[in-house]
């Protein structure tokens, strides 16, 4: 995306860390085995109890994070709602699939089917807010969130609206975990010797729902600026450095202008080789932190990385405990680099206003 003035006014995330409400617990929650599970908040404060009962876990997490984000930004109806989700609503999909099989395609009730469509979270947010504005859902694996973010940023750049709610949500279910485990994605046993120690193959499953209120209006409400979004596909490890340099140059920056790098290491040796390579080259002497020891690996995890970046820009001291190393408190410009399964690479640039 070309340079445009895109600000972030609020952020809210439901993740495996207990960070939904202000006043962090100050301790990092570790995965149980090879799986992280989101710390779900008390939904009653945000959503009508009658509605909560009908919602699956991802719908609850997505709508609650969205509503909290709007609340913090003091926005009632955003100009648009744009979602990213790689897996969609797995729980309802599995329920309906099972019923089709168990009842041999007869006597089925529609509830699970209705809630299984990939746009359910975005639609539920619109329904709760009575928001008739732009509403879109992207489903491109490790670029689902980036597509949503690009769409949202362009809507602001085009002056279609002044405020847009952008978010991502993905869930793990016992079935999806079992299937992805069979693909060899996850560690056989989670290492006790640290998330990023390569004693075994695979990573730890993650999930989460993070939302951001983007605005094209400069003012007191801004907590950060979203300077750039870039995605690229299927790039070999040795070409990533070039891509990063090109991205920074396009934004009239060099690596020297970056105060902090948030990297997408996931604890799998092969996956992380590219980050090690960057550390020895372009990222030498730069503060680099990881984030997947907090949220696990999932296709829209870069939304959690952006959440973390904003917490660090806002108050590095308060968010320090989440980082795997002591960071310089004066964080102005943050570069996030992540790749999902070597196919979906993304760069996000955010910083103080």
């Amino acid at each position: 995306m070309e340079e445009a003035n895109i600000y972030i006014n609020a952020v809210a995330g439901i993740s495996p860390q207990s960070v939904f409400n202000e006043g962090f617990s100050q301790s990092v929650i570790k995965p149980s085995g090879n799986r992280f599970v989101c710390m779900e908040p008390d939904y009653d404060e945000l959503i009508d109890a009658k509605l909560i009962r009908r919602m699956s876990r991802i719908i609850k997490m997505g709508t609650a994070a969205a509503l909290k984000c709007l609340q913090q930004a003091n926005v009632e109806i955003p100009g648009g709602i744009v979602m990213g989700t790689a897996y969609g609503c797995l729980q309802d999909t599995e329920i309906f699939l099972k019923r089709i099989i168990d009842y041999k395609e007869e006597m089925l009730t529609p509830t699970a089917f209705i809630q299984s469509t990939h746009n359910t979270v975005g639609a539920q947010i619109a329904l709760l807010l009575q928001c008739h504005n732009y509403n879109n859902t992207f489903v491109q694996s490790g670029h689902s969130f980036e597509s949503a973010l690009l769409d949202g940023a362009l809507l602001l750049k085009e002056d279609e609206m002044n405020e847009v709610l952008v978010g991502a949500a993905d869930e793990i279910t016992p079935a999806s975990h079992a299937i992805l485990e069979r693909f060899g994605l996850y560690k056989k046993q989670a290492g006790d010797n640290g998330f990023y120690n390569y004693t075994s193959k695979g990573t730890v499953a993650g999930e989460g729902a993070c939302f951001f209120l983007l605005s094209n209006v400069q003012g007191e409400k801004n907590i950060a600026k979203l300077n750039g979004i870039e995605t690229f596909l299927d790039v070999p490890d040795e070409e990533v450095e070039n891509k990063i340099n090109q991205f920074l140059a396009a934004h009239h920056l060099s690596i020297n202008d970056i105060d902090l790098i948030i990297a997408g290491r996931n604890g799998d040796k092969k996956n992380d080789a590219v980050y090690d390579m960057l550390d020895k080259n372009i990222f030498t002497d730069k503060q680099t932190i990881n984030y997947k020891h907090l949220c696990g690996e999932y296709p829209t995890s870069s939304s959690f990385a952006l959440w973390l970046a904003l917490k660090l820009v806002k108050d590095a001291g308060a968010a320090q405990f989440l980082c795997n190393q002591i960071i310089n408190r004066d964080v102005k410009k943050i570069l996030i680099y992540n790749h999902y399964l070597h196919t979906y690479h993304s760069l996000l640039l955010a910083g103080a206003c």
């Binding site: 395609e105 489903v139 596909l233």
Partner: protein, 401 residues
Amino acid sequence: MQTGSKVYIAGAGIISAIGNNIAQCIAALENSNAGIGEMQQLTSVHKKTLPVAEVKASNKILAEWAQLPANITRTALLGTIAARETLHNAGIRNFNGLRAGLLSANSVGGMDKTEDFYALFLKDNTAGRLRNVINHECGSATKIMANALGIKDFITTVSTACSSSANAIFFGARLIKNNILDVVVAGGADALTRFTLNGFNSLMILDNEACKPFDENRKGLNLGEGAGYIVMLSEKALQVLNAQPVCTLSGYCNANDAYHQTASSPSGTGSFLAMKGALQKSGLQPSAIDYINLHGTGTKNNDVSEGTAIKEIFDPHYPKMSSTKSFTGHTLGASGGIEAVFSMLAIQRGFIYPNLRFTTQMKELPFMPETTFAKGVEVNHVLSNSFGFGGNCSSLIFSKI
């Protein structure tokens, strides 16, 4: 920013129940040959009771046409066939270094394979072939297609139920306008699955006969499958690729009905906002629209909601209109793509399509759809509607150059 810059459509490709390419589809449209009938490809207990609009080819044959393995999802096979035709139709052999993207759409990704896998997996979670779930995610078909087409710069997939393709097309147009891409192949693909068939059946909105959109006595929709894509080019790409533009995408709008997860509001709020917004974006008056390709699913609910919104915008001067779902069935995530192809052809060749099986005007509406095929008509502007679950409503406007 080049918001004023135009987005040119230079070609299209399609595979649907009425034909495996543009020529076959045109012949079927011209001869009023609907593609709705008894299930031949999908395995379901509803074979004898619920008519569907299937693509008339097995996965094995589709795989040969797509030059892909037969064990990948039908969605990816259908998409690849239509997207290949799109580039061929536009005379684009390579992208000459231009930035190219694939913006696709679908509603259930690789569900056609997942549902076979899941029956085995439920009995034993170490059972079922992994190759049948590896392409479950919606984005997977798009990645397979992009690899087949040699598109490397940008891909994404939209999934907003029945409006998915329309949203993919219009996001693609915006990527061109914002100078992010030069060439965009956009549209959608969806294969029939037991999952969707039973889902719609549980909602009791499937007709057990061939559907009758916008008819007083309509009883529901028929599900279909297929894929439809258009290729959009920037001004620069037109020159570099020496391509001939057919029409432009002059207007688009996405709005939300915010009424119910699956039902449309009786007032057609979302449909109204989408059509009105698209007209505004194109700078056209309602009277400039020559033809509306209706969403027209044939359900009681959709047609009255869409019709009410049309009445509000167009009364008393109604353009010609029809639902081509009376030919292709409702192809869900592919419908906006397939109907974009029909819209482009309407402008290019002066076609107006009939709304099959229409006999009785709806009592709520002062207008009725076209019932005969016409050609040689001066069609300057076409409005195409795609409305869906989750209140997601999108309208596109295609204009003659």
